[in-house]
Amino acid sequence: MNVDKLALLEALLFTASEPVEVSELAAVAELSLNETSEYLEVLIKEYEKRSHGISLKKYDDSYVFVTDPEYATAVEELHSAEKKQSLSRAALETLAIIAYRQPVTRVEIEDIRGVKAEKTLLTLSKYNLIKELGRKETIGNPIVYGTTRDFLERFDLSDLSQLPEIEFNN
């Protein structure tokens, strides 16, 4: 373990306002992907200590520093910032369907919710929470949707396997 590399990775992440891919970090730090991931794990551990007010988060293969949720009010107060807006119920429901059933078509989503999904899909795309994954090989070749890294970040999920499990109580 080279402390300079650890410090370098910390410096790099400190300057990034959005998740940075491990490959980018590895390239700049002149480390292998595995080494980089190991160093980043050390950083994550370090910042998990209670004396720290920030955490290093992993979303898919990307890393970003964020402030701990309990200090949100203070941060907002310091910067006189408005509280961030949460998504509408329609957006959340649609997003839940996409998250759990991806790749999924618009028609499939509409079937489940019983309403048109076009506008909601546009909104979710605009916020970069969903993306087109491709087209389904069926009649009409409909677009199939999936969630993005921004989605993981917004819900603080390190990857899709962290999605809450559902119990089907039939």
Binding site: F65, L92, P164
Partner: protein, 245 residues
């Protein structure tokens, strides 16, 4: 019919949600019996909704029809049980599915709420660094040649093989020949060695660039002025002929 709650219709995203909320507010399990019981309430809301928005109401109609059918099935106990059960099962299954995603979205909302309290670092650094644009050329010579051919082919007045040859020949020249009117005049006169007339458009077409075209025009005008050439057009818009005098 017991309507304990005022339900604002604008809040309902769709028929399934309305049905789901009614079941929840009546504190009954999603089941075939509750569906039959809930039908009247659903229809009551639908009636109210219709007066607001017919377009939207139509989406609710399908479910309403299903509910009525299920209820009717109960009123007529002898009617085909198989179909009745299937209808119920389908609707109940849809509702259960919907309920799952509804619950999931509630969990996601909690996640979101917590995550929204995480603040990212300010994005000051990126702005401070110049974004350098680097050109990646993943073309090879073949592509370049193809592009050249395409560009020549797209030239509307230049589709004949002759003209392409001119273009190709010109590859080798390094310094631009300066064509003056006098040289061009002699060249044009030379063209009449074997014939008495030439077509104006052919003459122009064989010029390789703008400069030559201009010089050619000037030469023709000059030759006409000194009465070496006669310009003739047999009828309006027909080909212009140049005749040596």
């Amino acid at each position: 019919m017991e309507l304990e709650y005022e339900i604002n219709l604008d809040n309902f995203q769709g028929p399934l949600e309305l049905l789901y909320q009614l079941i929840k507010k009546n504190k009954i399990e999603i089941s075939e019996i509750s569906l039959a019981r809930i039908t009247e309430q659903y229809l009551a809301y639908l009636k109210e909704l219709q007066t607001f928005n017919l377009d939207l109401a139509s989406e609710f109609m399908v479910i309403a029809a299903e509910l009525i059918e299920i209820k009717a099935g109960y009123l007529l106990p002898s009617s085909s049980t198989g179909k009745k059960e299937k209808d119920e099962k389908d609707l109940v299954q849809r509702l259960r599915n919907y309920q799952i995603y509804k619950e999931l979205s509630t969990i996601l909302q909690e996640y979101e709420e917590k995550a929204l309290n995480q603040y990212n670092l300010p994005s000051v650094y990126k702005e401070n660094f110049q974004q350098e644009e680097k050109l990646i050329i993943d073309y090879n010579l073949e592509d370049l040649v193809k592009a050249y051919k395409q560009s020549l082919a797209s030239r509307p007045e230049n589709k004949t093989a002759d003209n392409m040859k001119i273009a190709v020949e010109k590859i080798d020249y390094i310094s631009e020949e300066n064509i003056n009117v006098q040289e061009k005049t002699e060249e044009i006169i030379g063209l009449f060695k074997n014939k008495s007339s030439l077509y104006f458009n052919n003459l122009l077409k064989n010029q390789s660039n703008h400069q030559e075209i201009v010089v050619t025009l000037l030469s023709i005008l000059e030759l006409t002025r000194i009465k070496r050439l006669k310009i003739a057009q047999e009828k309006l818009f027909s080909t212009i002929k140049i005749v040596l005098r």
